[in-house]
């Protein structure tokens, strides 16, 4: 039995009839074609599916789409400017080589932005502690930490 859900995704209003058990990540990927949000695990551990719901980073595999009713959701596709210019955090990840295969990257960037909003002038240790919920198998985190520091500075944090 379908259920109706209405929310805003990357600034655009969206209404859809969906299976009530649809996870937010599944809704974003399958119904809206926003495949930049990735699924890397089934236990809420890897963080590849991290998006912003009303400005807060959440793992979109851990909530149902209907729980985002009336919320404003931002995904990795919604970060860059309309002309394609990357958000300062995205630019910092590129500049610092904070990504390799790119699979964890969207979740990592979304978490990083939330992190620096909550922890301006975060120390390396704070950044490492805060990124504990985002797994990366490629970079060894070294350049991700640098990217978050540089991205924070570019964001004026």
């Amino acid at each position: 039995m379908a259920i109706s859900v209405s929310l805003t995704v990357n600034g655009k209003p969206v209404t859809a009839d969906i299976d009530p058990r649809t996870l937010l990540v599944e809704f974003l990927r399958t119904h809206l074609g926003l495949t930049g949000t990735h699924v890397g695990c089934d236990t809420g551990q890897c963080g590849a599916c991290t998006v912003h719901v009303d400005g807060q980073a959440i793992k979109s595999c851990t909530i149902l789409a209907v729980q985002a009713q009336d919320a404003a959701v931002t995904t990795i596709e919604g970060l860059a400017a309309a002309d394609g210019t990357m958000h300062p955090m995205q630019a910092a990840f590129k500049e610092c080589h904070g990504l390799q295969c790119g699979f964890c990257t969207p979740g990592m960037v979304m978490s990083a932005i939330d992190l620096v909003e909550r922890h301006p002038k975060a120390s390396e240790q704070t950044i490492r502690d805060e990124l504990e919920g985002n797994l990366c198998r490629c970079t060894g985190y070294h350049n991700i930490v640098k990217a978050v520091q540089q991205g924070a500075a570019a964001m004026g944090k």
């Binding site: 074609g33 790119g102 060894g140």
Partner: protein, 789 residues
Amino acid sequence: MGATEQGVIGQSIRRKEDYRFLTGAGQYTADVYPQHHSHAYFLRSPHAHAKIRHIDTTKAKAAPGVLAVFTGADLTGVNGLPCGWLITGTDGKPMNEPPHPVLAQGKVRYVGDHVALVVAETPNQAKDAAELIDVDYEVLPAVVNCVEALKPGAPQIHDGAPGNKCYTWALGDKAAVDAAFASAAQVSKLDIVNNRLIPNAIEPRAAVATYNRADDSYELYVANQNPHVERLLMTAFVLSLPEHKVRVIAPDVGGGFGSKIYLYAEETAMVWASKRVNRPIKWVAERSESFVSDAHGRDHVTHAELALDKSGKFLAMRVHTTANMGAYLSTFASCIPTILYATLLAGQYTTPAIYAEVTASFTNTAPVDAYRGAGRPEATYVVERLVHQAAVDTGIAQDEIRRRNFIRSFPYQTPVALTYDTGNYDATLDEAMKMADVAGFATRKAEAATRGTLRGIGYASYIEACGLAPSNIAGALGARAGLFEAGEVRVHPTGSITVFTGSHSHGQGHETTFAQIVAARLGVPVENVDVVHGDTGRVPFGMGTYGSRSLAVGGTAIVKALDKIVAKGKKIAAHLLEAAEADIEFKDGKFTVAGTDRSKTFGEIALTAYVPHNYPLDKLEPGLDETAFYDPTNFTYPAGTHICEVEIDPDTGVVQVANFVACDDFGNIINPMIVEGQVHGGLTQGIGQALLERCVYDPESGQLLTGSYMDYAMPRADDVPSFKVGTKVTPCTHNPLGAKGCGEAGAIGAPAAVMNAVHDALAAAGVKYLDMPASPHRVWQAIQSAKKS
């Protein structure tokens, strides 16, 4: 190379591929949504070892949305999955190679073994229907440990492998080794367990298979590191399909680390089924499935001995290893604990005699195959733990015992088959010691003691054989495939360039590094060069990416194609400039008549090749598009020294990596930023093996106990430090780039460096020996046991 060209080589140019990854525009296999596609779900064995008495799929077939249900009985005419490397045992017989069915045939042999494929309209319908399949199992006793599997009375897994043995294989001069041990002043010994790991690329495996009835062809998107190999094995060995009717596309791939080299049952069954259901079929592994069904890594049990003379010179090494193959032979499983392991036991040292014997056994566990480093981390761990132990036993300093035994004359023929072409092991050790401020260690240790923690330092001077591989040598050693690489350089009429490579990038940044090579050579901007990979429909037949081979082998294939481009360009320029071909020089993007200012730009030559109005058509074909295949003449030998410092809290057993330094020799470097990134990632996987990761099967039930990220400890951002990495360069002597490869070094050197540091730290607490991972539980227990004794 000229000044301009050098300007591109060795520069940390930011990656061309990053924009799409950073904006959510990458396309991984799970992002492929063909019209009218259906979904696959694999029913897997819940038992480690069981006979299948009967399977009833009636209810599942009638479930909502189900298109088809297939079991092993349906796969008539489908062969088993092949193993790509034949090992010949010490008895002169080929290894035991029992069938590896795509879907179980009467028996299941590990938890996760594939029993049935359900195809339905939605993933949930496929999953729900799978629960309705009634499988009548007769559960059998299981064995998961590779040593236990070889004991009399162990459960027999395959009819074709008596005693669960795959092979016993040996390398080296046993008599010379025995003689050296008999006269040795000192023998150092270790028993080592190299812990089993689960690769855990963050992108789970995935596949989308489509059959096209119009021309009886297939298209397979798959998360894979070598699409041509995947296609060849699948079509020629398993499904008996015409190779040219199957296109395999490995699009953006979210990490591989070896686990995506192999031909797996899932995509094979899906390609077969796509014709039967005549609909595209999509499958994306859940992480729990990845844990039980991806090929795992390592899992060795080893006894190793090192004989030394009075002065600390190594006389001989003796190694016996038992290696776990899992329940079936995965694609390259057999060569990992043999060809890629025992051949590296010389390390960086002049040990004149080495003998290694390896027994590989079958167990009721997931197949084990190459995982980042593949045999070489295991070899380095044996050598460098032994060297550390020998230094402890003899009282010689850790750096000094290494220096007394370094190889300093090249080429160097080891007693275990390899010929090192070049290296400078003193240089990397010296630099690593400087970077690590070894001189200040005693002060740091004393300071740590005031805080009640134990500080230790550990070295690993590793070597690896990369750039796989000379096909003739590999063939003589049992490889059932060539190991060349292919590259095509297609110059467009306006002078921009598309490169087609058989290498595959799943994080390594080939789109940038390879573009730098082309830009440097042809004198064009990096932005004018695009690199295409991962599609058998577009790129020439290549062997893909593994064994740190892409730059040394794939890059060289591109260089060879560039040679042809330049040679043809010279012919065209000679015609246009009315000069002899021999007088044309090519430099900085210009073809010039030597000694004159008469020249043509690369762009002018490209345009002329495609608009051949003034052109020697009687002697030269139009167009500027060249392909080259390159087969290396030797392996490459990256080497270096890693130094780790740890601090251990004796009250909790927690080990903290306080400092990690890596000084590596990768030969010439094209993009230092990318190389450093590869090292960081490898080090973290190595630290993961040393301190966190361990795949555990229950010894009785054979159930995987570490089957999720809740149970298997992956390295997280707060588990590792920032690294200090540096390089020293001795260019590889046998490829034109002088490149050796950098992808695996971190994972090879780090485990031994960390564990040597752990042992150094724990020596003060009386702890003699600890296996990986040095988890708080194990460390604390070891400290308590040492106190009691």
